[in-house]
Symmetry: C2
Subunit: 667 residues, 2 copies
């Protein structure tokens, strides 16, 4: 077993090399005419500027946290693991964004050169760079830190937990900051461009249009990547932390590492299979690629579990997680593109209030099935393997993150490709291909969002279980988080309020940041002569700068609050209250996250369905009402909703990392 | 002590007589000219028809539950108590409604005869009938059943709990059915009348206008009365159930009974003091009347506690509850009429999406302070008196329900008085007086809604504590509801989803029911010649009938679901999972309830603020956007939001009543 464990980080490095090779294959592809190149370059630079600015703020933030960790935990290696987790996440985000902002224009060109199959192939390969980076760097980091600490497996988690917290810190900024950026740019440029100036979407005369396209990358690619990386790493870390308190310690701690290594290989094979599958229609191609990875993982996971553990108990937990992940994706797809969308569209005939009420009711109802799915997965995995099983189920859900993330990142690349086609004046034939890919991207995005919140829920539960086990071990007796104690109930209430407060803060942040952009775009239309006529250039850099600064400024308060709250409750009211706090935050955060993502997606698609000519089509009153719903849905689905994923995981991981100190403080 | 306990039901009866005398004093007042009388009669009949239809359905429902109770609990007296609780609530609702629908027209007349002070006096007296009925019938019922069972105090709760469940059953139908009625009538008649036909609110040509006025009574008077009656009874029952497991059993069980008896007397004195206070401005008058009752209760509560218990520990719990209730009211008032309202109004300048996002963000944020208030009250009362303290705090919050409810019922009476003034063509002078009283009524309604959800939260927590104690007693060992168990976590998730599902169901119910009314009103405008010109009469009975049938039909599914869910979880997954379920439902229900009530109130007032001439005033784009917010807020604040109060209490009380059977089932 030792030999294999030693090989793990190298397999991870091989996965990263796979990602880099894919990247170089993508950029070898021609990037089209000068106009296309110029637009793509602006998006690329805008995205990179945002990342660099963001990483600067993160550097300051991480430096403070490193000092706090070193001071409180008195273990420099935890601080090192924390930094490593952060750097891995940032590296994945950076390389993935590099690829995404290079692949977009090449997808447009591919549509010209070889039609749908070629465009699909370029977009998917571009997305798979992010997918493989996320999967591979997780394997590298976790594999390495486990190798380094496994001599003393009982205390290994104290160090490895830091890696997850590092991943969480980046996810916080990437998701919240990215979410605010993407929606303020979207809302801001639409409000002035489409509504006030009356020019179409993605029109090059709109000064905010590049910021909007940058936002797609910043939010949907970098934000989503950091989110899934956090879940992925968090699930493994939780399983290891619980494993450290079990008999057969080394085996149960190695198991999740093996699963993600297998998952990485399975993902790589799935990505390679696209070379053949691209000839099918895009939807089938993406689906079968996922199936290829899934089947390979299921079979090799079975063999691995049998060889390592003898019993197959833990394997059933993995399967429970895997199936739950797929189901939650399908459930999200139903609510954001099935019959509920038509119901909302019909409600739009009675005006904007009807759309909003019908949408919110649908969103509330859409929480039922995913919650039942999560409960069933929890029950099955707990039945087979106890608390460890919950963490292993989360690992199972996330082991094939490589292919899941590839499919998901393909979406914003296609979206951008469409934008570039529009802005560069490519013909309607090209636009048709990119529209088709983009529309499929919306479906994969809905599935991806469902998967992200589902995996966040299971990961948060796993981290919560790991927190309990860690406190119990430190205290030397099982901790109970008993709801018959007033402290636990108070923790539950305060924890439950956190998602509400963070939602309020992020929604208002989008509004403020969008307003700043609106003023700038209005100013440009007013002051730059000939802009609307297309004879003068807009100052797009100015808009990118305003969106960047706004998003980064606005993310600080919710970020610090999310990070500090578990510490305040933990040190103020003790580990039991903190347990209640995490439970409350997780329940409410998951419900609110599902609700907001689904209602946002459903409003978006209701509007699109009307635009296809139903209920009077574009410019009808129903359409106007549906646009109101869509606008409200923007911060729901792309800012506040996804922020819930981060919130529940981050707070749990902070509690887990500081559990030993908090427990000792109250002994 | 025995003598005083024997006197309690008689004091309660005296309170009820006080209510009846007030009623006869109100109806002795002249009811104005023929036109006014005719309109008032229609509202009166409409309201009574609704109540009678509702009570018929409730009778069937209660009969089924009685059989279930008798079969499962094998205790006929519990069934008797259940019936009594239901009958007391219905009686309070009936008499209160009778008074409210008689006082409205007399308030209009009083405004003509004696200006503001006289109108205030009539409206307040009308409302105080409901207030005193609620307070007195609670004292009668609880006092009587305690007298009847106190020979064997340990098992007394098995019977008395039934009384609370009876109150809860009525509250469910009154709040949910009433909430659906009031909002479907409001939305339906506004949509056709104000928007399509372009006639003002409360215009007699609108066929839905009487249904709308009936709705104010049905929702805000009967619904609110049943809600507070449920909290009031639930808090006392919870305290008694916990008291039954404590030393000094008889004393700790009597204490809550004494508190509400004192509270009843204090409320009566407060109501009488209005005879002098009415000369002040209306706002001060209402406030001082509440203070009079509060101070009397605080002083006599101190004496009572000292005499009965010796120690003052429980008294501090009472004070914690009393202060928390007042604070939550003030917090609600701030969010529904303070600076947040202006922020939302300003957001309306950017269109309906801006209003909605800003409102929802405000609503989410508005949960923070009330939750902290509830947590602090819980902590203080738990510190002084353990689990019993939480229940006693709830009793303290609700002991002066007589005066609280009087102030609250005054609102819909004034609202109706304004409607009657408008419909009967009273001059602008009269309308100005009723508008002033109505506007104050909106403030007291906001405070009342905050108080209702705050008291529901504390009552649900108290019932939850009583549930634990009961299960522990039956099992013979302390039950732990430990969040480290997967079952409890699963219960927590399922419980947390319940408020989301019920909200979705009730919101859609309003939409469907309103649509039926819209079609009917449109039909009348189309088919009745001369209706719009004022030369023909609308068929108002038809609208009342549609609203009644719609509301009663729509309340069944959410009602049955709320009642069955705790039984399914309890018998399916056991008492621990049920404990988790109740905790999850309470946290999410309270958060969602506060959020929906506050955002609804804030949208309403933002619209009114613009109508006062700000930001362009009526007919500006900002106003149109604000109207959208207000329309969305209607089901939020008057249907789904208040339904949360009932949901969390009802599910807890069902769990408490069936706790002995569920516990035995899993022993």
């Amino acid at each position: 077993m030792d030999a294999i464990l030693t090989a793990v980080p190298f397999i991870g490095i091989a996965g990263f090399v796979f990602a880099l090779v894919t990247y170089f294959l993508v950029i070898r592809y021609p990037e089209g005419n000068e106009k296309m190149r110029a637009i793509a370059e602006k998006i690329h630079i805008g995205a990179m500027v945002f990342l660099k600015q963001e990483y600067k703020i993160i550097a300051v933030f991480m430096a403070i946290v490193v000092i706090a960790i070193a001071a409180l935990l008195k273990n420099p290696w935890t601080a090192v693991a924390y930094l490593s987790g952060g750097i891995c996440s940032m590296l994945a985000g950076y390389v993935g964004m590099l690829a995404a902002t290079r692949a977009n224009v090449r997808t447009t060109q591919a549509a010209k050169d070889g039609g749908t199959p070629l465009a699909l192939s370029v977009a998917f390969n571009g997305g798979s760079v992010m997918g493989m980076c996320v999967a591979a760097l997780g394997v590298v980091g976790l594999g390495f830190f486990f190798l380094f600490t496994k001599k003393d497996p009982g205390t290994a988690p104290i160090i490895i937990n830091g890696f997850a917290m590092g991943a969480s810190s980046i996810a916080l900024f990437a998701r919240v900051g990215g979410g605010i950026y993407t929606k303020s740019a979207d809302v801001g440029s639409d409000l002035v461009g489409k509504v006030e100036a009356g020019i179409p979407e993605d029109d090059p005369r709109n000064p905010g249009v590049i910021a909007d396209n940058v936002g797609d990358n910043v939010g949907d690619t970098a934000g989503m990547g950091a989110d899934l990386f956090e879940s992925y790493v968090g699930a493994v870390v939780a399983a290891m932390a619980i494993g450290a308190t079990m008999p057969d310690t080394l085996k149960v701690m190695s198991l999740p590492i093996f699963y993600i290594t297998i998952g990485l290989i399975a993902s790589a094979i799935g990505i390679l299979s696209m070379g053949i599958l691209k000839k099918l229609n895009p939807q089938s191609a993406l689906r079968y690629a996922t199936y290829v990875s899934g089947v390979i993982f299921i079979i090799s996971g079975l063999i691995c579990t049998k060889l390592l553990m003898g019993s197959l108990n833990h394997y059933w937990s993995v399967i429970a997680g895997l199936v739950a992940g797929a189901l939650i994706g399908v459930e999200s797809e139903y609510f954001t593109s099935g019959s509920p969308v038509k119901k909302i569209a019909h409600a739009s005939t009675s005006g904007p209030a009807g759309v909003v009420i019908s949408g919110i009711a649908t969103g509330f109802m859409s929480t039922l099935m995913p919650i039942i799915t999560i409960c069933v997965a929890t029950a099955i995995s707990y039945y087979f393997s106890g608390l460890y099983g919950i963490a292993i189920a989360a690992v199972g859900m996330l082991a094939t993150v490589g292919i899941v993330m590839s499919t998901d990142s393909y979406g914003p690349i296609s979206d951008n490709a469409g934008g570039i086609a529009e802005m560069s004046g490519a013909g309607p034939e090209i636009r048709k291909i990119t529209d088709k890919l983009d529309s499929l991207g919306n479906t994969t995005a809905a599935i991806g969002k469902g998967f992200a919140i589902g995996s966040a829920a299971l990961t948060a539960l796993a981290l919560f279980s790991a927190f309990q086990q860690t406190v119990s071990t430190v205290m030397g007796k099982p901790m109970s988080i008993d709801l018959t104690s007033a402290k636990v109930v108070i923790g539950l209430f305060i924890g439950g309020t956190m998602p509400f407060v963070i939602t309020a803060l992020t929604m208002e942040a989008v509004g403020r940041s969008a307003n700043r952009l609106v003023e700038e775009i209005r100013r440009q239309f007013r002051e730059i002569k000939g802009l609307l006529e297309g004879t003068a250039e807009p100052q797009i850099d100015k808009c990118v700068e305003i969106a960047t600064k706004g998003a980064l400024r606005e993310m600080i308060i919710p970020g610090v609050l999310a990070l500090m709250a578990p510490l305040i409750v933990g040190f103020g009211l003790g580990p039991k209250a903190l347990g209640g706090f995490l439970a409350g935050a997780t329940v409410v955060g998951v419900l609110l996250g599902i609700m907001m993502c689904n209602v946002g997606g459903a409003w978006d698609n209701a509007k699109k369905w009307i635009e296809e000519g139903n209920l009077g089509g574009k410019k009808s009153d129903a359409h106007k009402a549906a646009v109101v719903g869509d606008t409200i849905g923007d911060p729901f689905k792309d800012t506040s909703g996804p922020s819930m994923n981060i919130l529940i995981k981050l707070m749990s991981v902070v509690a887990l990392v500081f559990a030993p100190v908090i427990a000792k403080f109250f002994m």
